[in-house]
């Protein structure tokens, strides 16, 4: 492993078994199981089930933080971790731009959204406010805002492995030199969606989970959060931080087998385990295994097989802690990580409550009770829907080492990692397929359709840019799409444009990674599942809608259809969700020398999102209504603010190789956060400096930039913000560069910047006339367009800048 080594300097945790590491550890030591009856909301169907509900006053503990219950759980854990690491809030002593946040989440604010939907459907007064905290990305944003972190702020939604995947991502950001310190973890609250969803899959054990037991019958659903402070060893040493443990090995893989069930032989899990164990220096053994051990028939059987496959017939002690506080979904991997660190500090390991009778098929008898144990190295497994597997190896902190001996002069600056764009697929309102879309851009924009939004009173029709029907001919076997959500069809159609049979022959499945950004996932199926629950009092929940409702159902289905077995990641970060996925693809290629990284993004139109947008004044009621002149001096063809849109893109990236054909090159990508919300004053000078640094890292001189492409959407606060950063940059570099926009082709949605990336690729590849992106006559015809900067800002403070070159 090259690069800087991540160490752990802080830990925070909140579960049904206690709040704070002291309480949780005490429960584990005393074997007090925290499962009990549900009181957070009423569930006609599962009222008698044992669940892991956090009984403490979560909102109170979070200091009245405005956010979802998941956000509050996450912040409680993050604050404890910061204090544990000797850091103040906001963080001082570490440069804010060198501090990142990576959180896992699956539920987000679903609990609040369910209450809103129930009000609507039962004809009660319409409440809207909880929907502000619907999105999974909220927890990471809350942690970044309150800690003052201005580095990359990322949310991963890879179902039940998300917490562990957040740790992997944080470690790679450190290794890569992108950050010096990163808060990593995950939070998930209980919700009707997940309780009934797992119920509809017949995966709930009413008596509480019994991991590895012969009679095991499913999981107990839980909630909670955990956060670790990861730091580069040398910067932690330099600030005098106490090092609790080291993160020594990590690896991720994808089964590419089934939407919810693991590969029965645990082949995917075994690849992740092997990757993590092989990453360790030397041949020291694993002393303890913190199993994923959910208590389902399939998971425990598969996990036992995978462990035997990699570590041999005789295993070190294994235990699953799931019965202490239930399966906390995304938070599970982070909670286990905190407990692994605690085990290394205390030199003791947890028991496996719920286990009584061995299962002869497993050939695995877990540790029965809490025991003091001399341990140096522990392995923690996490597996999730879609066959997402992650394995982490934590090791005991040694005596303090002189930083001079730790690394061999590795730079603390982000590395330059140019990547070749080999192919592009796209489904958009102006056309399907790269050539069609590039050709249509000159036409000025997409024409809008009107979508009926029944949730508004009175119901109204809202203009939107829709992608139209997805042609069944896009798919090699159209019958396979019978259960796919619309958004899955969109991303798969874009993928098949890229993944021609010939191109696929050049990949090895294990050496191909996939990352997909999405703001809201399969929102239509998610809402259909929840509305069905509410309308029928939880009778007959629909499993297909549930399996589609997880944000990673897009990436999972692509992996299954194409057999992509490398790490599979879903990134959720509002307007920079696509950039977050792009960052993952670039890191995979740079770190592992993979064959290909597929990077995609998708969001779909939904009446629910349109209703919320209409209520909050996001869309102009009439498409022709003129609005005040916006800051960019641009006006979409129809005037006023962009309507809602949708779309999907898929990009194939590879390490550059001389002579190989490519469309263009991604020269650099930088992600970060700004202390800004739309409506506030933006420090344009600071933002311009930030972009300038990104260009410097990519080794692009300011004078080389031919076009500055923004996510301007015709809404004054956003467009003014874009314009002010562009103007400040122009002043700084003393050179005027035309600015342009792309949302006239796709409308406004979370992952519209994926469409922007495709437009930028067309621009530098000479396939799109820059005049169609630039207002008026600001583009001199015949001028070359070789380097494009793609600037994306989220109204919630996340930002990204991508540099593309011919």
């Amino acid at each position: 492993m090259s690069g800087r080594n991540p160490v752990i300097t802080g830990r925070g945790i909140i579960t049904a078994a206690g709040c704070g590491i002291a309480q949780v550890w005490e429960a584990i030591r005393g074997e007090h199981v925290g499962l009990g009856r549900l009181s957070l909301f009423s569930s006609p169907r599962f009222a008698a089930h044992a669940v892991g509900e956090v009984r403490a006053d979560v909102a109170g503990l979070a200091g009245g933080l405005r956010g979802s219950r998941s956000d509050q759980l996450g912040w409680v854990a993050a604050r404890e971790a910061l204090i544990d690491a000797g850091l103040s809030t906001p963080i001082q002593g570490v440069r804010a731009e060198r501090v990142g946040v990576v959180m896992g989440a699956t539920v987000g604010g679903m609990l609040g959204t369910e209450a809103v939907l129930a009000g609507w459907l039962k004809g009660r007064r319409k409440r809207w406010a909880p929907l502000r905290h619907h999105e999974c990305s909220g927890t990471a944003e809350v942690c970044a805002t309150l800690s003052g972190a201005l580095g990359p702020c990322l949310t991963l939604s890879t179902a039940c492995s998300a917490g562990a995947m957040a740790i992997v991502t944080g470690a790679e950001l450190i290794e890569n030199g992108d950050v010096d310190l990163v808060m990593v973890g995950a939070a998930d609250s209980l919700s009707r969606l997940t309780l009934n969803g797992f119920g509809s899959l017949l995966l709930l054990d009413p008596d509480g989970c019994r991991p590895f037991d012969h009679r095991r019958a499913g999981i107990s659903l839980g909630e909670g959060a955990a956060v670790l402070i990861l730091e580069a060893a040398e910067t932690a040493w330099a600030r005098g931080a106490r090092i609790l443990a080291k993160l020594e090995g990590w690896s991720a893989s994808c089964d590419a087998h089934h939407a919810t069930a693991p590969h029965p032989e645990g082949l995917g899990a075994a690849r992740a385990l092997r990757g993590a164990v092989d990453g360790i220096h030397g041949a020291e053994p694993i002393d303890f295994i913190s199993a994923h051990g959910t208590g389902t028939r399939d998971n425990d059987a598969m996990e036992a097989r995978a462990l035997h496959r990699v570590l041999g017939e005789t295993l070190p002690p294994v235990a699953s802690v799931k019965r202490f506080f239930g399966h906390t979904l995304a938070a599970s991997g982070a909670i286990k990580a905190v407990l692994c660190v605690q085990s290394l500090i205390r030199q003791a390991t947890p028991g496996n409550p719920g286990f009584q009778v061995a299962d002869p098929e497993l050939n695995l008898e877990p540790a029965r009770s809490f025991e003091p144990r001399a341990i140096t190295r522990v392995l923690s497994n996490s597996f999730g829907f879609g066959g997402n597997n992650v394995a982490l190896v934590f090791s005991k902190a040694g005596p303090p080492t002189d930083p001079g001996k730790m690394t061999s002069g590795v730079s603390t600056k982000p590395r330059r990692q140019p990547m070749a764009i080999l192919a592009l697929g796209v489904i958009s309102p102006v056309g399907h397929g790269m050539d069609a879309v590039w050709g249509a851009l000159g036409g000025g924009g997409a024409s809008s359709t009107e979508i009926e939004v029944p949730l508004l009173s009175p119901p109204m029709r809202v203009p939107a840019l829709a992608c139209g029907e997805i042609d069944a001919g896009c798919f090699p076997d159209p019958t396979r799409r019978r259960r796919w959500s619309r958004i899955q069809q969109m991303i798969l159609a874009a993928t098949y444009q890229v993944a021609t049979p010939e191109f696929r022959r050049s990949w090895t499945p294990e050496r191909t990674s996939l990352s997909v950004g999405t703001g809201l996932g399969a929102l239509n199926d998610t809402m259909a599942f929840v509305e069905n629950l509410i309308a029928n009092d939880e009778r007959a929940p629909r499993p297909t809608f549930f399996t589609n409702s997880v944000h990673n159902s897009l990436a999972s289905q692509v992996a299954i259809e194409l057999g992509i077995m490398g790490p599979n990641v879903t990134t959720v970060q509002r307007e920079v969700s696509f950039e977050a996925a792009l960052g993952h693809g670039i890191r995979r290629l740079a770190r592992c020398g993979n064959d290909v990284a597929l990077v995609g993004a998708a969001d779909e139109l939904s009446p629910h999102a349109l209703a919320v947008g209409a209520r909050w004044g996001w869309w102009d009621k009439a498409t022709s209504a003129p609005r005040a002149r916006n800051g960019l001096g641009l006006r979409p063809p129809w005037g006023g603010r962009m309507p809602a849109g949708e779309g999907a893109v898929m990009v194939a990236l590879a390490s550059p190789s001389p002579g190989a054909a490519r469309l263009a090159s991604v020269e650099g990508l930088r992600l970060g956060r700004m202390p800004w919300k739309s409506g506030e004053r933006l420090d344009a000078e600071a933002e311009a400096r930030w972009v300038e640094e990104a260009l410097e890292s990519a080794e692009i001189a300011p004078g080389d930039v031919d076009l500055w492409l923004t996510g301007a959407n015709g809404w004054d606060p956003m467009d003014s913000a874009y314009a002010s950063v562009h103007e400040a940059w122009t002043r700084r570099v003393g050179r005027s560069t035309p600015k342009g926009r792309y949302k006239q082709g796709c409308g406004e949605f979370h992952t519209a910047s994926g469409f922007g990336f495709m437009v930028a690729t067309g621009l530098v590849a000479g396939r799109v006339d820059p005049a169609c992106c630039v207002a008026g006559d600001a583009w001199e015809s015949g001028r070359p367009c070789r380097t494009v900067v793609l600037h994306t800002m989220s109204s919630w403070g996340c930002k990204g800048v991508t540099c593309l070159r011919t």
């Binding site: 509809s200 919810t260 019978r482 007959a540």
Partner: protein, 92 residues
């Protein structure tokens, strides 16, 4: 019983979005899952949902579903033996 068998087949085709499949294509005594129609475990769970919605039969364990879903005929017999009056469901 024959009516019920036909009804089940129709529900399977609609509920599983089986394009170009007719009730005649589904054999009454053949295994429903893991062969022929290409149905999988999630389809089986959808069928659990359909049984609850239309016949008031609540299945909580996978083992029960596996036995009940051996074939369309087995499923019809299971429904006759277990059906509950169900306000929103069809009665045949």
């Amino acid at each position: 019983m024959d009516n019920l068998i036909h009804e089940i087949k129709t529900k399977i085709i609609a509920g599983f979005s089986l394009e170009k499949v007719t009730p005649q294509d589904i054999q009454t005594d053949a295994p429903l899952f893991g062969a022929g129609l290409g149905l999988d475990s999630i389809d089986a769970l959808e069928l659990v949902s359909i049984l609850e919605r239309d016949y008031g039969i609540v299945i909580q364990e996978r083992g029960v579903a596996d036995k009940a879903f051996a074939s369309v005929r087995a499923l019809a017999q299971f429904i006759v033996a277990n059906r509950q009056p169900c306000p929103g469901g069809t009665q045949s």
